[in-house]
Symmetry: C2
Subunit: 446 residues, 2 copies
Amino acid sequence: MANEAPHGQGSEEPAPAPELKNRHPRDIAEEMRDLPLARVRDILRKLPDALAAEVISELPQDVQVRLFESMQVSRLSGIVGEMFSDDVADVLGHVSSARLREIMSGMPAEEARQISDLLKYPEDTAGGIMQTEVISVSEHLSIAEALEILRREEEDLPNGIFYIYVTDSERRLRGVLRVRDLLFRPSNLKIRDIMVPEVRAVSVHADQEETARLFRAYGFSAIPVVDDFQRLRGVVTADDALDIVEEEATEDMQRMVGLSGEETAETPWIQSVRNRLPWLYVNLATAFLAGWVVSLFETTIAKYAVLAIFLPIIAGQGGNAGTQTLTIIVRSIALGDIPETHHRSILMKEILVGLLNGLAIGLVVGGISWLWRNDLILGVIAFAAMALNMVAAGIAGVLIPFGLKALRIDPALASAIMLTTVTDVVGFFLLLGLAALVLSYFPSAL
Amino acid sequence: MANEAPHGQGSEEPAPAPELKNRHPRDIAEEMRDLPLARVRDILRKLPDALAAEVISELPQDVQVRLFESMQVSRLSGIVGEMFSDDVADVLGHVSSARLREIMSGMPAEEARQISDLLKYPEDTAGGIMQTEVISVSEHLSIAEALEILRREEEDLPNGIFYIYVTDSERRLRGVLRVRDLLFRPSNLKIRDIMVPEVRAVSVHADQEETARLFRAYGFSAIPVVDDFQRLRGVVTADDALDIVEEEATEDMQRMVGLSGEETAETPWIQSVRNRLPWLYVNLATAFLAGWVVSLFETTIAKYAVLAIFLPIIAGQGGNAGTQTLTIIVRSIALGDIPETHHRSILMKEILVGLLNGLAIGLVVGGISWLWRNDLILGVIAFAAMALNMVAAGIAGVLIPFGLKALRIDPALASAIMLTTVTDVVGFFLLLGLAALVLSYFPSAL
């Protein structure tokens, strides 16, 4: 969280165990990473609530959950009080419901309400990622009165605060204050008169990817989150967006090749098998489809085994070229860089690129096969199949993601698997079909 | 930039052409995207310098460069004065040197110095992405004196400012101030006494990816940038990090499949061909390697064409499984999630996962081929080749990126191409080799 930054830059906590003094919570958490849970609890026991809260926030979520399941509720509620509400909610979303009730009942009513609010929102919405710690003052106050309130609430002021929002009597968002106005404008002015009235807010229901796009597009440092009644409910900060952007990029990369999107190098093997096997079976079905195409030409291959050599070359090249196109399109869609109106021109471009690369690669493939096997007709067949398959690859690389998007499906989803299916099937048909055709007319040709 | 946010939330510029009033610069830029350059210049002419500066900052870089090349220097220097130094430097890095001198000479000396400073640093370093607009006060001042200075400099204060840094008489970075201390501590205190002395800064030479990782790891909102003498030179904000993270993710995705990393759906076709063709030729070489393996068994295939059907199945499945592993490893490395000490256990895990998935998939492949061709031995061969190739895929998926990293090469670089080469070659050797072996012992077996 942005608000942890100054803590990160020198915390004001009472001094903990000496070896942990002046250490950033993240670094402490980093070293706990391989320790058994019991040992982690021992270390946390030595830390004051506030520091323990920060350290816990930096631990992997599964560890946080196990801690929340196993720590004493009394200590836990002390720590929870120091954590950001969004972090708490993320963990509580995964503890047993019995434990959840225990912990919630140990909390101050107001905080419990905030948390259960957050638990209402799916994790991938603005409501799910926002923090409820947000500073707001009434538009009716004077600068002096507002400062007085802020001073009284200093303890709750997130560190490194950079936006103070303005609300009306219904807590509806009315504007935003700039610190420099608070600092430098005559203190008898009314908040209403110094606030910036246009505030771009997002709904609690807004998709997290959409929210992150706002940061990227407008370079905000924070975006206020409002409920259906325009009431200020929380704030999302630029570094929350940072996590989202990384999550989403990881998801796109993984989904293209048939992965859940949440797997990491450290995911337990059993889970990895469960994640990957389903899509491998899907891929298997498509592979048999390609194999079936080959089987149609079994007699041709029997007569002319050299064709088998070129199967992987034609198909592989097509697959690689198509994946290049696919990767660019999927990523551009994810970054919101493709206006609807450009779809057609992009398709045309990729056809052209596929044709040019196809000719360039096809000539080499044809040439080599001609010289290698000293067989001109084989060379011509290989050239044609290669060039045409690269065009097909370009078309598939554009149409698959655009098609998925049109169907409101994630354009990345298993798209690489679909693409290679196309390039395999088309490639095999072209190579073997052309060969069979030639053989049928000139049985002695090859 | 974080600092544009409040502008984005209601600019205080003199009112521009009515239809552009209350429009966010980003939105204006969005609509210019398809207009001819001349028309863009017309629109910009209608805008006050400050707004024009923001709009230009939102345009695609190539358009910015063409504008800088073609606009009147007099107007340009007015606009440049309103742009963030890092944005200006990004553009000036691409204009003709003659034009660069013209523009620089039109600038106030101090600004020209800052810009040429930035031009010194490679675009992918902290120095290259930092903005030089950074607020700092001397540690020797009192809060009152500091506020007085800030008030005088109000005009230059970036909006949405959230960190004020503290420097000594040599402009060396000494600490950071929190706004709430300026607001609420007794104004006779010395800056030295209220500043947070521990500040995490990065060197101007720091790699941008490393810098972004700091934001991710510690959740800072801004990180000060210092030169080799610890002098404060600029600041990088969390939303700069946002752009970096997206760039890097795009790069990883693209490089895996042999792309430059900078291509988008809108890249001109000629450039796309230039970007992609080289790696396609590399892939072609590897494809012929695979083809050559097949050619070693040409006689076997001639005798037994059905093997050709299973070539794409065995190879394709291996390639897909390996790409799953590869994608996870490459991404985890990029996010810095893999400690050296875990390499071995990760390799072991992927071997296990490969074996289990291999058995699961192999049984189906073997079973189908047995029933389809009513040939048990074929089934056994297909099963063995499939299972073993999936293990090889797991091993390659881990060793290729780790190997590239050990060689200080980007772990993503063309890794998917290398991986499919391994799975093709190994898969073909296994299937055809096993078949040839069986045939050599039991000529009538298949």
